[in-house]
Amino acid sequence: MSSYLLRRLLYMVLILAAASLFIFALYALMPGDFVSGNLRLSAERKAELREIFGLNKPLLERYGTWMNQALHGNFGFSLAQQKPVVTLFNEYVWNSFLLAIVSTFFTWLIAVIIGVISAYKQYSIFDTLVMIFIFAAMSIPSFFIGLFLIKVLAVDLKWLPPGGMTTTGSNATGIAYIREVLDHMILPVVVMTLLGVDSLTRYFRSNMLDVIRQEYIRTARAKGLKERVILYRHALRNALLPAITLVGFELPGLFGGSLIIEKIFNWPGIGQLYMQSFTVRDYPLLMGFTMFIAILTVIGTLISDMLYRVADPRIKL
């Protein structure tokens, strides 16, 4: 086990080293930089700024500097925001995380319940309705559902705020602040859940359909166990096993933000920051963000492998 972990950690370092090279190359080799797009600057001023930002140094040296800083926990300095990248992340990432964790929770809860019932009552009216709803939800783009809900619930009915994280100009604190944020997050969470729940429901439904045809389910019935016990103790656990892989993939998603949802609902999350940085070619921030996602991805994979070991007695590490 410990030798396995050691080996895995070594692989993780190698993968991240390779990823950093790719990420750096991707942004460094793209034509133009933070300075070149700014029309107000003279050629001399641009050269001066490149000197200051270190953009005129050889590629390898720039990569070396970047990596050296990263190893010391410093993911660079945002040129556009004039703040360390890590500080900026800290400011925005938790807003994204709040939306993601709540919607992920509801997505999984709803997907497991509906998927299980749907599989258990395959081809019933309930199952058919669920399948129709899922295909409808999968076919409609997120921006459409988002804008549609804003139009109906926020603009016409005025039940919920149309966007933002707090009411403009509000300086509520304590409980009032929490309630304000909760109000604002309902719509984005609903849209994110709607979007996530359909593919996951289909996934659980098909896993469950596989499992309830297994012979050990027939054995459980032959033992005279209650259907509820058969479904939840014997079937669900086996149907959930393959989903552990997905748990690993959820980790970067929890911190990665959502470009479209955050844009539509004007949510101050990391996705919005990422979009902004793209338009001004703030490469240090973009590189830092991409690297951050890469780190979370390898950690997520490791976590899901560990979880397999806990959940499935057949797996030895």
Binding site: R218, A222, K223, L225, N238, D312, P313, R314
Partner: protein, 327 residues
């Protein structure tokens, strides 16, 4: 002797895209107290479906018991609600399956799986159930029972797992044990051990047993009464001695001829010519007629009914009907 189970005119059909398959087609038989009844037949003859019908484990809507009655212990099983049937399954009637490796849940320890029927049907608490489970594991001849109770199915061999299945099935001391080809997936040396043990446990607990098999060696060894099925029908039945000494139906005769005999080397083992008819396309005739060496004109147009012979033996064949002439 009292009958434990009486099955009357049982028919179970499966509905496929091509049409209805009469997997079990109007069969009747009874199982006496303490008796071992064997159902023999080729694959697709309906023997497993008979067992699953008795257990109420036919998956609807793909399959359905369309007709018949199953009397068990003063109850009519097919009239019971799902809840009532559940209290009988695993408690008064238990079943073991062909593939022990896939018949146990891979993520639940073996001891826990044996404890489940004890807790459900006998209301034992966790501690009592665990103690009983360990006793049962020991009873089926597995050493280190405490350790085995903590193991998972993938850590045990097929023979051990089938013993575990038996321990689970007999946990509530059922009146009837149904075993659907319990030794088919195991290797030959283990087969004999498992059969011996089943027989011993059956004697000791005075259970009745319904054994499904295609192995006539197994039948000769432990059956009291034999039922031969072909294409969903019973073609012949009788006590094991009657049937082995004096098989009446040409199919039974063929089956017995195709059984290898130790010490009697033949150049070529006999096999019944032809194949089982397509179950979707059964015409009003004896279903065996096109493979039968004694086929009469009437065999091609009319289905023979079971007819009593000497003793308990019955056969469904036109050769034994009065008024049909033999060649």
């Amino acid at each position: 002797m009292r009958n434990v189970m009486e099955i009357e005119h049982l028919s179970t059909y499966f509905y496929t895209r091509e049409g209805a398959v009469k997997a079990v087609n109007d069969i009747s038989f009874r199982i006496r107290e303490g008796e071992t009844v064997c159902i023999v037949g080729e694959s697709g003859s309906g023997k497993s479906v008979t067992a699953l019908s008795v257990m109420g484990l036919i998956e609807e809507p793909a399959g359905k018991i369309v007709e018949g009655q199953i009397h068990f212990d003063g109850k009519q099983l097919l009239n019971l609600s799902k809840q009532e049937l559940r209290t009988i399954r695993g408690n008064d009637i238990a079943m073991i399956f062909q593939e022990p490796m896939s018949s146990l849940n891979p993520v639940i320890p073996i001891g826990k799986q044996i404890m489940e029927p004890l807790k459900t049907h006998q209301g034992l608490n966790k501690k009592e159930a665990k103690r009983r489970a360990i006793e049962l594991i020991e009873l089926v001849g597995i050493s280190r029972p405490e350790q085995i109770a903590e193991s998972y199915p993938h850590q045990l061999s097929g023979g051990m797992l089938q013993r575990v299945m038996i321990a689970m099935a007999i946990s509530c001391e059922p009146k009837l044990l149904i075993a659907d080809e319990p030794t088919t997936a195991l290797d030959v040396t283990i087969q004999a051990q498992i059969l011996d043990m089943l027989d011993r446990i059956k004697q000791k607990a005075n259970m009745s047993m319904l054994l499904i098999t295609h192995d006539l060696g197994v039948v000769a060894e432990i059956a009291d009464y034999v039922i031969v099925m072909y294409s969903g029908k019973i073609v012949e039945e009788g006590e094991v001695v009657e049937l082995f000494d004096n098989p009446k139906h040409p199919y039974t005769q063929g089956l017995l001829r195709s059984k290898p005999i130790i010490g009697d080397r033949q150049d070529e083992l006999y096999s019944i010519p032809g194949q089982v008819p397509n179950p979707l396309d059964l015409k009003e005739s004896c279903y065996f007629h096109d493979r039968c060496e004694h086929c009469l004109p009437i065999c091609k147009t009319k289905l023979p009914q079971l007819k009593g012979m000497e003793g308990r033996q019955r056969v469904a064949c036109w050769l034994y009907e009065e008024g049909t002439h033999h060649d």
